[in-house]
């Protein structure tokens, strides 16, 4: 994909088109705005959280063309032409939960749940690529997301529960 050259001076906005949770969206944004801010403020999808804004906590993780990325470490203009999935896009249209959501619900994974969007999105990508991860693989994959409340055990159990749900659904 070779996108046409684009430029914007300070104070100008650029038009960005993305598909968020299946719906095509257009935003006129200043290039300096982070993808996270645009998802939260322009798209109104506040389920994606900002915990550190420098790439460490993982609360802002979304799927960009299916892969987990830090939305705080992307400019919205870099997401032009991409497909984004946020926590709001996980459940099915009929409102039934994604197995990851169901697994986390059943395992009582979270407390304040501020970290939850990042864990959910990371776990979705993990289980897509590795439907039967070992406990250590789960822990390793989730280690890019900080949780201050739970001590992680319940979150790992949530992923393991999701694995069982997905297995049972097959």
């Amino acid at each position: 994909m070779n996108l046409p050259s684009i430029r914007a001076a300070i104070g100008e906005t650029i038009s960005v088109t993305t598909t968020i949770n299946g719906a095509s969206r257009r935003f006129d944004v200043e290039p300096r705005r982070s993808l996270a801010d645009v998802i939260r403020d322009e798209a109104g999808l506040t389920g994606t959280h900002l915990g550190c804004e420098h790439g460490v906590c993982g609360a802002c993780t979304v799927l960009l063309d299916g892969e987990p990325v830090r939305s705080c470490l992307m400019l919205a203009v870099q997401a032009d032409g991409t497909e984004i999935t946020t926590i709001e896009g996980l459940a099915n249209a009929d409102g039934s939960l994604h197995p990851i959501q169901q697994g986390m619900y059943d395992a009582m994974s979270f407390q304040c749940a501020f970290c939850s969007p990042g864990f959910l999105m990371s776990a979705v990508a993990l289980l897509r690529d590795n439907p039967n991860p070992s406990t250590n693989e789960i822990r390793e994959e989730l280690s890019g997301n900080l949780c201050r409340c739970t001590g992680y055990q319940s979150i790992v159990e949530g992923v393991e529960t999701a694995v069982r749900i997905m297995g049972a659904q097959q």
């Binding site: 999808l45 959280h49 304040c112 501020f114 939850s116 969007p117 789960i138 890019g144 201050r148 790992v156």
Partner: protein, 859 residues
Amino acid sequence: MTPGYETGPTSDRQTSGLGFVGQRVKRVEDERFLIGKGNFVADLTPDGVHHAAFLRSPFAHARILSIDVTAAAALPGVTRVFTAAELNALTNPIPPFFMADGVYTPLYSCMSEDKVRHMGDPVALVLAESRYVAEDALELIEVDYEDLQPTATIDQGLDTSREQLWELADGNVLADTSFEFGDVDKTFADADRIITRTFECPRQTNQPMETRGCIVLVDPDSGHLELHNTSQAPHFLKWAIAALLVNDGAVRNLSTFLRNKERRKAFSSASKEFLKTNIDKLKSSDPAGQKAQLSKDKSMLRHQARMAMGLLAAEDYPTVKAGDIGGAFGSKGSVAREDIAVAAAAKATGLSVKWIEDRVENLLDGGQAREERFTVSMAVDEDGTFRGLKVDAVLDQGAYPAFPISGVATLLFWKVYMPGPYDFGAFQLNGKIVATNKGKVVPYRGPWANETFMRERMIDVVAAELGMDPGELRAKNVLREETMPAALLTGPTLDETMSVAKTLDHALSLIDNDQLARDKAAARERGHRLGLGIASYHEAAPGPPNFFESIQPGSDMFLYEDGRAEIQADGRIVMYTSQSPHGQSHQTTYKQVAADEFGVSMDDVEIVWGDTDRTQFSFLGTGGSRGGPLGAGVMRVTARELRRQVAAVAADMIEASPDDIEIVDGNIHVAGVPSRGIGYRAVAAKVARETGIADGPVFAESMKYEGVGNGGWSTATHVAWVDIDLETGMVEIPRYLVVEDCGPIINPGIVDGQVRGGVAQGIGAVFYERHHYDDDANLQSGTYMDYLIPTSMEIPDIEIEHLETLTAGENDARGVGEGGMIGAPAALTNAVSDALGVQVLEQYLPPHRLLELAGVIER
């Protein structure tokens, strides 16, 4: 249910009859969180809101010579720039709250105008169309600073020759207190041995994943303020904002108040109620603290009149709303200077303002904790009998005392807790607080927790000196039910809930010493060292009735919890709590409790929290492990009373005796005759018809709850196994066991989460987290690349055993929120000492320090 995997009861699956309490009921909160529909303060962006950013000092200690905001104010998109002086002129200084003999608490304003006392001290506030522009403007503000000598450490704080942070203090020592119980001199003279060590704990920070934040909305007509805030204590914030913003020049003293009928009438009913209820306690409070404060600084008196609750008018009070809060661990219980500044700016401009703290701000001054030093002397006999305990403690409070709970509270808690669950004959605490040029210390999950660290570490030192097993030494000295005195040496009464001995015995029974010996040998083979550490503690959660009396006379007025239950005209059950949950799952547990009382499903109960217009006044919100014992307790008694009232009316309707009424699945009927039952809706409708209430509560009851019985202790023993790679200093925790007793458990899933989360923070404290300031008090761990919160790779699975000691009480649940963090640092440092065969004297043990202690590398 999906075949192939098990699911427990959920809120939508009625299990009435069994009761919800005690079951692992799934969290109601998750129904919104897991689909991304939480209601956090940053999620709210009202139309036309202005975004705030603070200019913060880059220096630890400096005088402000001048400040020029012209260029910032001229930047397009900037609405207004306030200097510190402008905002301070609109607000009152923050007063001392906890006062005690020997303690001076400096008064300070919401912003710093003459001098800055730590990196991050706020000196100007920008309002702009976006946070981006606000931050652009910060770069255009010019401040001329003149360096002052910084005070960075406890030693420097004790050194009276250094530049003072506070003019009226003695050097930088703000508190010098002494407490004695029993005959310390005689006990020490009589004992076989006196063993002394000094223990240190460096600075930590609470670090909830959500930072602090505040949105202030201004009603264009009335000027009324509505705050959306991450507060753990919304009612306290409401009072504080009123008290600190009433600086309109009007003289507010008692005589004008008495003369002004309007004002008297308007006097907030909630606060009036509080004063009325607590007048005896207020009178009984010890005046020594006030005297000590006034001997240093009388300015409190000038502000006191304006701040006294009774002198504030109803229109002075804002509404505070706390929605979902992303964790706090104590850090959101204090009123932030920023909250006051933002509210003052909104009030002054009439504009709605949003301030969301960023992580860098949060690391600078969002709440820090635990930098303390203890010189401990233990008097013991050769047979291991504990005789006496003497502690010289110093707490490094940072630059500003937190409001309302400053370091003074920690000193007072230490005074009561330090001897722990052991049978000491005498105890003395000499406690000091020093001011340093660092971020402010706030309560952090068991704010007094280092008493457990230093005592349990000391017990292992003593065991080593006496050649005894640390577990046996504890078992020998721990208070046991059979020989339990009526009260602790330091005052609070005891009963069967002081079950530390049971947790210890059970924990010891779960340690396989032969296996441990084999594992230690195997570790050695690999060039590792394995060690085991034990720590026991008790926590007053909520504590016996005289607990707060022992902390400070009069302070028990904060102990009780208010609650309210209503049945609406349409039959809906609504419960109101003054708690402000931030991860503890109150909504779920309170629904469990209320649903059982009412005999309905959890979905039939609505829980209201966080909105000061709708909930009862309470100085304390969520904190102090009170949500289970007191918060759930008041839900239970209030619901029970309302059920009684409903049953009486229903009995009348179905022509039965109220005593025969049973309510199952919302069906109110005579026991054994469910087919002739009626529902809450029918009962409510009848009352609504008779009273003419179409909309609103037809049954309502507000109650207070202070806990029951003589006990209310929460206890635990932690056991940690720690494995250290002697080549690299890297640590693994192959096993971690908690045996805890918080009484009957409302929801085991939630209790386990609290315990594990606390232990994880303890593991962080010992092996990963240090809030590092250099010798000039410059913050070194200013981002998450440097303040290391452990990840899923560092925190192991944690085994938990529950003992659930029961008493005769009504709501016997005891607190469990703080314990994990209280026990873990002690157990872990004991394990490291055992592994390395050296007595560890500090709490923070990064890999290089472990190798130094092991003699592998030089310091």
